[in-house]
Protein backbone atom coordinates (compact mmCIF):
# COMPACT_ATOMS: atom_id res chain seq x y z
CA UNK A 1 0.00 0.00 0.00
CA UNK A 2 2.95 2.33 0.68
CA UNK A 3 4.23 1.78 -2.85
CA UNK A 4 0.76 2.41 -4.26
CA UNK A 5 0.45 5.76 -2.45
CA UNK A 6 3.95 6.73 -3.58
CA UNK A 7 3.09 5.90 -7.20
CA UNK A 8 -0.10 7.94 -7.04
CA UNK A 9 1.90 10.87 -5.60
CA UNK A 10 4.39 10.68 -8.46
CA UNK A 11 1.58 10.61 -11.04
CA UNK A 12 -0.03 13.64 -9.40
CA UNK A 13 3.28 15.49 -9.45
CA UNK A 14 3.63 14.80 -13.16
CA UNK A 15 0.07 16.04 -13.77
CA UNK A 16 0.87 19.22 -11.79
CA UNK A 17 3.87 19.87 -14.05
CA UNK A 18 1.75 19.29 -17.17
CA UNK A 19 -1.01 21.65 -16.07
CA UNK A 20 1.58 24.25 -15.04
CA UNK A 21 2.30 24.63 -18.77
CA UNK A 22 -1.13 26.17 -19.35
CA UNK A 23 -0.71 28.25 -16.22
CA UNK A 24 2.44 29.86 -17.60
CA UNK A 25 1.74 30.10 -21.35
CA UNK A 26 -2.06 30.40 -21.28
CA UNK A 27 -3.33 32.67 -24.05
CA UNK A 28 -5.69 34.64 -21.81
CA UNK A 29 -5.51 35.62 -18.17
CA UNK A 30 -8.46 33.33 -17.36
CA UNK A 31 -6.52 30.30 -18.61
CA UNK A 32 -3.81 31.19 -16.12
CA UNK A 33 -6.37 31.48 -13.33
CA UNK A 34 -7.78 27.99 -14.00
CA UNK A 35 -4.22 26.73 -14.26
CA UNK A 36 -3.55 27.99 -10.75
CA UNK A 37 -6.79 26.48 -9.43
CA UNK A 38 -6.14 23.13 -11.08
CA UNK A 39 -2.60 22.93 -9.70
CA UNK A 40 -3.99 23.89 -6.30
CA UNK A 41 -6.63 21.16 -6.22
CA UNK A 42 -4.04 18.52 -7.07
CA UNK A 43 -1.75 19.91 -4.37
CA UNK A 44 -4.66 19.47 -1.96
CA UNK A 45 -4.77 15.74 -2.67
CA UNK A 46 -0.97 15.52 -2.68
CA UNK A 47 -0.83 17.01 0.84
CA UNK A 48 -3.17 14.30 2.17
CA UNK A 49 -1.11 11.61 0.40
CA UNK A 50 2.09 13.01 1.94
CA UNK A 51 0.42 12.77 5.33
CA UNK A 52 -0.12 9.04 4.78
CA UNK A 53 3.41 8.51 3.46
CA UNK A 54 5.06 10.30 6.41
CA UNK A 55 2.50 8.74 8.86
CA UNK A 56 1.52 12.20 10.17
CA UNK A 57 -1.98 12.41 8.68
CA UNK A 58 -3.37 14.06 11.84
CA UNK A 59 -1.19 17.09 11.10
CA UNK A 60 -1.39 17.13 7.31
CA UNK A 61 -5.20 16.94 7.18
CA UNK A 62 -5.46 20.34 8.86
CA UNK A 63 -3.03 21.87 6.36
CA UNK A 64 -5.07 20.33 3.53
CA UNK A 65 -8.33 21.72 4.95
CA UNK A 66 -6.92 25.25 5.24
CA UNK A 67 -5.42 25.01 1.76
CA UNK A 68 -8.76 24.01 0.19
CA UNK A 69 -10.42 27.12 1.63
CA UNK A 70 -7.46 29.23 0.42
CA UNK A 71 -7.78 27.98 -3.18
CA UNK A 72 -11.53 28.60 -3.24
CA UNK A 73 -11.28 32.16 -1.93
CA UNK A 74 -8.32 32.88 -4.21
CA UNK A 75 -10.16 31.77 -7.34
CA UNK A 76 -13.24 33.80 -6.41
CA UNK A 77 -11.17 36.93 -5.78
CA UNK A 78 -9.27 36.51 -9.06
CA UNK A 79 -12.56 36.04 -10.93
CA UNK A 80 -13.99 39.18 -9.35
CA UNK A 81 -11.05 41.52 -9.92
CA UNK A 82 -9.86 40.37 -13.34
CA UNK A 83 -13.25 41.01 -14.90
CA UNK A 84 -12.95 43.97 -17.26
CA UNK A 85 -15.21 44.91 -20.14
CA UNK A 86 -13.61 44.65 -23.56
CA UNK A 87 -10.23 43.48 -22.32
CA UNK A 88 -10.09 40.56 -24.75
Amino acid sequence: MENFLLTISLILGLLILLSLYRGIFGPTVFDRIIGVGFVGSKTLVLLALMGFIYKRIDMFVDISLAYSILIFIGTLVFAKYFKSKGAM
Partner: protein, 119 residues
Protein backbone atom coordinates in the same frame (compact mmCIF):
# COMPACT_ATOMS: atom_id res chain seq x y z
CA UNK B 1 -11.90 -1.76 2.81
CA UNK B 2 -8.37 -1.45 1.42
CA UNK B 3 -9.58 -2.74 -1.97
CA UNK B 4 -12.32 -0.10 -2.04
CA UNK B 5 -9.76 2.58 -1.14
CA UNK B 6 -7.49 1.50 -3.99
CA UNK B 7 -10.44 1.59 -6.41
CA UNK B 8 -11.47 5.08 -5.28
CA UNK B 9 -7.94 6.52 -5.45
CA UNK B 10 -7.30 5.02 -8.89
CA UNK B 11 -10.59 6.40 -10.22
CA UNK B 12 -9.77 9.85 -8.86
CA UNK B 13 -6.35 9.85 -10.48
CA UNK B 14 -7.95 8.79 -13.76
CA UNK B 15 -10.32 11.76 -13.60
CA UNK B 16 -7.40 14.10 -12.83
CA UNK B 17 -5.52 12.75 -15.84
CA UNK B 18 -8.49 13.23 -18.20
CA UNK B 19 -8.93 16.75 -16.85
CA UNK B 20 -5.29 17.57 -17.60
CA UNK B 21 -5.54 16.11 -21.13
CA UNK B 22 -8.63 18.22 -21.82
CA UNK B 23 -6.97 21.25 -20.25
CA UNK B 24 -3.98 20.99 -22.56
CA UNK B 25 -5.71 20.05 -25.80
CA UNK B 26 -9.05 21.86 -26.04
CA UNK B 27 -9.12 24.91 -28.32
CA UNK B 28 -10.53 27.74 -26.21
CA UNK B 29 -11.17 28.88 -22.68
CA UNK B 30 -14.76 27.66 -22.36
CA UNK B 31 -14.10 24.09 -23.48
CA UNK B 32 -11.00 23.96 -21.25
CA UNK B 33 -13.22 25.01 -18.38
CA UNK B 34 -15.62 22.20 -19.33
CA UNK B 35 -12.83 19.67 -18.94
CA UNK B 36 -11.26 21.01 -15.77
CA UNK B 37 -14.49 21.82 -13.95
CA UNK B 38 -15.60 18.20 -13.93
CA UNK B 39 -12.22 16.47 -13.82
CA UNK B 40 -11.08 18.64 -10.93
CA UNK B 41 -14.18 18.15 -8.79
CA UNK B 42 -14.59 14.44 -9.29
CA UNK B 43 -10.86 13.70 -9.05
CA UNK B 44 -10.37 15.44 -5.72
CA UNK B 45 -13.63 14.09 -4.27
CA UNK B 46 -12.95 10.46 -5.21
CA UNK B 47 -9.30 10.52 -4.15
CA UNK B 48 -9.98 12.12 -0.76
CA UNK B 49 -12.91 9.76 -0.09
CA UNK B 50 -10.61 6.83 -0.88
CA UNK B 51 -8.00 8.20 1.53
CA UNK B 52 -10.66 8.52 4.26
CA UNK B 53 -11.58 4.85 3.72
CA UNK B 54 -7.92 3.83 3.81
CA UNK B 55 -7.39 5.74 7.05
CA UNK B 56 -10.13 3.69 8.74
CA UNK B 57 -8.27 0.54 7.71
CA UNK B 58 -5.87 0.91 10.67
CA UNK B 59 -8.66 0.61 13.25
CA UNK B 60 -11.61 2.50 14.66
CA UNK B 61 -9.88 4.54 17.36
CA UNK B 62 -11.08 8.05 18.18
CA UNK B 63 -8.17 9.79 16.43
CA UNK B 64 -8.65 7.77 13.25
CA UNK B 65 -12.37 8.54 13.13
CA UNK B 66 -11.67 12.25 13.66
CA UNK B 67 -9.15 12.33 10.81
CA UNK B 68 -11.63 10.52 8.53
CA UNK B 69 -14.37 13.00 9.44
CA UNK B 70 -12.02 15.88 8.57
CA UNK B 71 -11.18 14.28 5.23
CA UNK B 72 -14.88 13.82 4.48
CA UNK B 73 -15.42 17.48 5.41
CA UNK B 74 -12.86 18.47 2.78
CA UNK B 75 -14.76 16.26 0.32
CA UNK B 76 -18.11 17.95 1.02
CA UNK B 77 -16.57 21.43 0.95
CA UNK B 78 -14.76 20.79 -2.31
CA UNK B 79 -17.87 19.28 -3.90
CA UNK B 80 -19.64 22.60 -3.23
CA UNK B 81 -16.72 25.00 -3.74
CA UNK B 82 -15.20 23.79 -7.00
CA UNK B 83 -18.35 24.21 -9.17
CA UNK B 84 -18.94 27.60 -7.56
CA UNK B 85 -15.43 28.78 -8.45
CA UNK B 86 -15.85 27.40 -11.99
CA UNK B 87 -19.12 29.24 -12.42
CA UNK B 88 -17.73 32.54 -11.11
CA UNK B 89 -14.69 32.36 -13.39
CA UNK B 90 -16.82 31.46 -16.42
CA UNK B 91 -19.18 34.35 -15.73
CA UNK B 92 -16.23 36.73 -15.39
CA UNK B 93 -14.82 35.61 -18.75
CA UNK B 94 -18.22 35.92 -20.45
CA UNK B 95 -18.71 39.42 -19.08
CA UNK B 96 -15.21 40.39 -20.22
CA UNK B 97 -16.21 39.64 -23.80
CA UNK B 98 -14.10 36.55 -24.44
CA UNK B 99 -15.62 34.99 -27.55
CA UNK B 100 -16.33 31.24 -27.69
CA UNK B 101 -14.35 29.29 -30.29
CA UNK B 102 -16.15 28.38 -33.51
CA UNK B 103 -14.84 26.52 -36.52
CA UNK B 104 -15.03 29.41 -39.00
CA UNK B 105 -14.22 32.14 -36.49
CA UNK B 106 -17.67 33.73 -36.72
CA UNK B 107 -19.79 33.96 -33.55
CA UNK B 108 -22.95 31.86 -33.46
CA UNK B 109 -24.91 34.26 -31.29
CA UNK B 110 -24.82 38.04 -31.37
CA UNK B 111 -21.41 39.14 -30.09
CA UNK B 112 -20.66 41.00 -27.88
CA UNK B 113 -23.80 40.06 -25.96
CA UNK B 114 -26.13 42.85 -24.91
CA UNK B 115 -25.78 43.30 -21.17
CA UNK B 116 -29.37 42.60 -20.26
CA UNK B 117 -28.73 42.36 -16.55
CA UNK B 118 -26.96 45.25 -14.91
CA UNK B 119 -24.52 44.15 -12.26
Amino acid sequence: MSIAAILFISAGTFFFATGVIGFLRFPDFYSRMHATGKGDTLGAVLTLAGLALYNLDAGFSLGNILVSIKLMFIVVFWFLASPTATHALLRAAYDSGLMPWTKDGKPVVEWPPKSGEDK
